[in-house]
Amino acid sequence: MSSSHDMRTATQQFDTESPAPLVSLRGITKRFPNVIANDSVDLDLFPGEVHALLGENGAGKSTLMKILYGFYSADSGTIAVDGEEAHIGSPLDARKLRIGMVFQTFTLIPAMTVAENITLYLPDLPAVLDNRRIAEQIDEFGKQYHLDVDPRLPVRDIAIGDQQKVEVLKLLVGRARVLIFDEATRVLAPHEIEGLFRIFERLKEDGYAIVFITHKLREVLACADRITVMKRGRIAGTLIRSEATEEGLVALMFGDAMPREIRQTAGERKTDGAPLLELRNVTTRAEGEGTRLDDISLEIRPGEIVGVAGVSGNGQRELGDIILGLIACARGRRLLQGVDATSWIAGRIRASGVGFVPEDPLGMGVVPWMTVAQNAALGSVETYARHGGLSLDWNHVQRDIGTSFEELSFEALNPWVQVRTLSGGQLQRAVLARELGRRPKLLVASYPTRELDVRSAMAARRVLATLRDSGGGVLLVSEDLDELFSLSDRLIVLHQGRIVGTFLPHEIDRHKIGHLMTGSGGTNE
């Protein structure tokens, strides 16, 4: 692999030996109603290198690149491409300037084929489509950069890792020179991540400029040539790879305010009693595009966190839903605290002490236009109903909210504001307070820290650990292997709706888990 770059220092802006920047951003500022996303940001992108944009969630990296891609327009600042000032008002403009972006959530159309998705993306399409020529181009690029996918398959039928390849092909067939990847590794298993970095290497050799947005230090150190750290909308520093160390980058990302993660208490933990949850040979029917669970047998005992690893879309949501009673067991049995709950409906299961933290709180866990108090009341309506349901005791609701927030050491929130005005972290805390205030015995937590800033993420993890320590059980679904390894007492791996492995965290390493997650045998690609 190539390692023949000149040693460049970031302080030299115009080194006569190095090429001029392909793209230059100067003074980019962007404000949203509650926050300054980008504050006077300068950035240069050079051809033939991987430039990592590092920072925690909410630092403004994604916004900056979306401005470059024309998805947003900056309030002030300039963009220059190839030395000439450019006006990028829409993604179409960006693509004409040969800038392309692979988003966190793919902009693919599941019902259409790979070829149609790529075709849609190409600028300068003729009015009548020439499908054959496009297929040829897909083939060429696919072979050259190891991005082989069958163009005739509908996108919903191919694995997520392959879907990402389609996204890259879109950009390449569309003749982009600058390729921006936003949190590209979120959905990939460890060996797939390595595969992606190898693709980066090949692209680099041919002069493409690659921007790699991430919050993961380790990945940055593995693939980047140049690293720019962002913090709270500003550039904290730019380094080349040889200058970068883990501590140095952490310091840039967090300054002196790096919060310390509370360590796991390995002490007193009540783990006796009947299993809180038992799934015995549970199989479900698939609904539309959902995944069918196949012969799942799982136990969650009191005082344990069971972590679920897997590529998104392999049955995690269904596993959570079947515990909550939102899906029926076509075969098999579901027992809650030793009682057969196979035929119970969701309300009854919830009333028996099962709570949930959904993967998309705003979309799945609350009623956006209702207040914090109303959403809290909905969490256990029967508790607050008076006179047979004819009225609700809002004072009680308010008191319970306060108590719950205190117990969890959360900053108090005004209970009478609409939930949709809250920030991501505040919303997650409100949901956690609501669910834990009910003293659940079992909690299904799906991606509870996704897109949260570090402080909120740590608070959420602490809450889960505390629940576990007091004898509760947690099913933790997460795509963050670090989180899974550090929090779980036991790990299971889901692949295509089956449990393909059960381990204690110290028994397995990230690579082996990665291969199980993607169903590959464990050999390097």
Binding site: F71, L92, T107
Partner: protein, 305 residues
């Protein structure tokens, strides 16, 4: 099964099916762009009333058809404006167009109720007259009937073989993906609404100018809603719509013919057949088809748009 019965069913199928096909094709284009237009019924009525009125006034039925097409297209712009610019609820916006169509068509048609016209010229399929059992008027249909299937094929080709069609389908599947691909979503939706209105206007005109050759208030009798159901039945595919429209027309006609040929079933019950049948179609196929629908339509049916 008598010869008269077969003839009756065949011509009845065509009579019922062809305007239904045009209307369904229009709705397919609209729904492929992510827009459910319940106002199709209103568009049909506008097409029927204006088509008839203009064909009487100008003495030329084809000008009537053209006027109906244009009127239908313009009318549907009202729907497009509400849904695209004001982001109004699609189902309610469709109802607004439906009321408007019912009211305006009644007002326009008032002067022409009961009047007759000679309708569109009918041409016999060449070569039929050679058969000994063929009468002079058998298998003799107007041009709109002959064009129906070719138009359906044209719609298919536009949707699946052109850039515009691909963009349109993308808008209906995932507006965000279409936007990320640089498509102008509003423009595409307006264009699709225009085409939907155009085809709906033609369907209505065919009803009044060619088939019934008269105007009466509310003469489309729910065909607009039936077309919406047929779109689901044909999985949003123009070629399958042909089958759907003809099957539906055939089923309705067969029942009617059988009853008319000698039973004393109340006309009220007979009139219920199309609606019950439509409900039946929706019930049997609606659930399964849910997942074949253009992606963005789901939000309409669950009330988010």
């Amino acid at each position: 099964m008598t010869w008269a019965l077969i003839r009756g069913v065949l011509s009845g199928t065509i009579m019922y099916g062809v305007p239904l096909l045009y209307a369904t094709l229009g709705e397919v284009i609209g729904q492929r762009a992510g827009m459910v237009n319940l106002g199709l019924e209103g568009i049909l009525l506008i097409g029927a009333s204006i088509g008839f009125a203009v064909s009487i006034e100008t003495g030329n039925p084809w000008i009537g058809v053209a006027a109906a097409a244009i009127a239908g297209a313009l009318f549907n712009l009202v729907y497009a404006f509400l849904v695209v610019n004001r982001r109004a609820n699609q189902l309610a916006s469709g109802l607004a167009v439906m009321f408007l169509g019912m009211g305006v068509s009644a007002m326009i048609g008032r002067a022409y109720v009961g009047g007759g016209s000679k309708g569109l010229v009918r041409y016999q399929i060449p070569g039929i007259s050679a058969f000994p059992w063929a009468t002079k008027t058998m298998f003799s249909y107007d041009l709109l009937v002959y064009f129906a299937v070719p138009v359906a094929v044209l719609v298919w080709w536009i949707l699946f073989r052109t850039r515009w069609g691909l963009s349109l389908r993308a808008v209906g599947e995932s507006p965000s993906a279409a936007f990320a691909a640089g498509r102008r979503i509003s423009l595409l939706k307006y264009q699709s609404a225009l085409m939907c209105g155009l085809l709906g206007g033609i369907a209505g005109a065919h009803l009044s100018v060619a088939l019934a050759r008269t105007w009466s208030e509310g003469m489309s009798g729910g065909r607009g809603f039936i077309a919406v159901a047929l779109v689901i039945f044909s999985k949003w595919h123009p070629l399958r719509a042909i089958v759907g429209a003809m099957l539906f027309g055939g089923a309705v006609t067969l029942q009617l013919q059988l009853q008319a040929q000698g039973s004393s079933i109340s006309p009220f019950l007979l009139n219920m057949i199309p609606y019950v049948l439509t409900l039946g179609v929706l019930l049997v196929w609606g659930g399964a088809r849910r997942f074949a629908a253009p992606g963005a339509l789901g939000r309409v049916y669950s009330g988010e748009e």
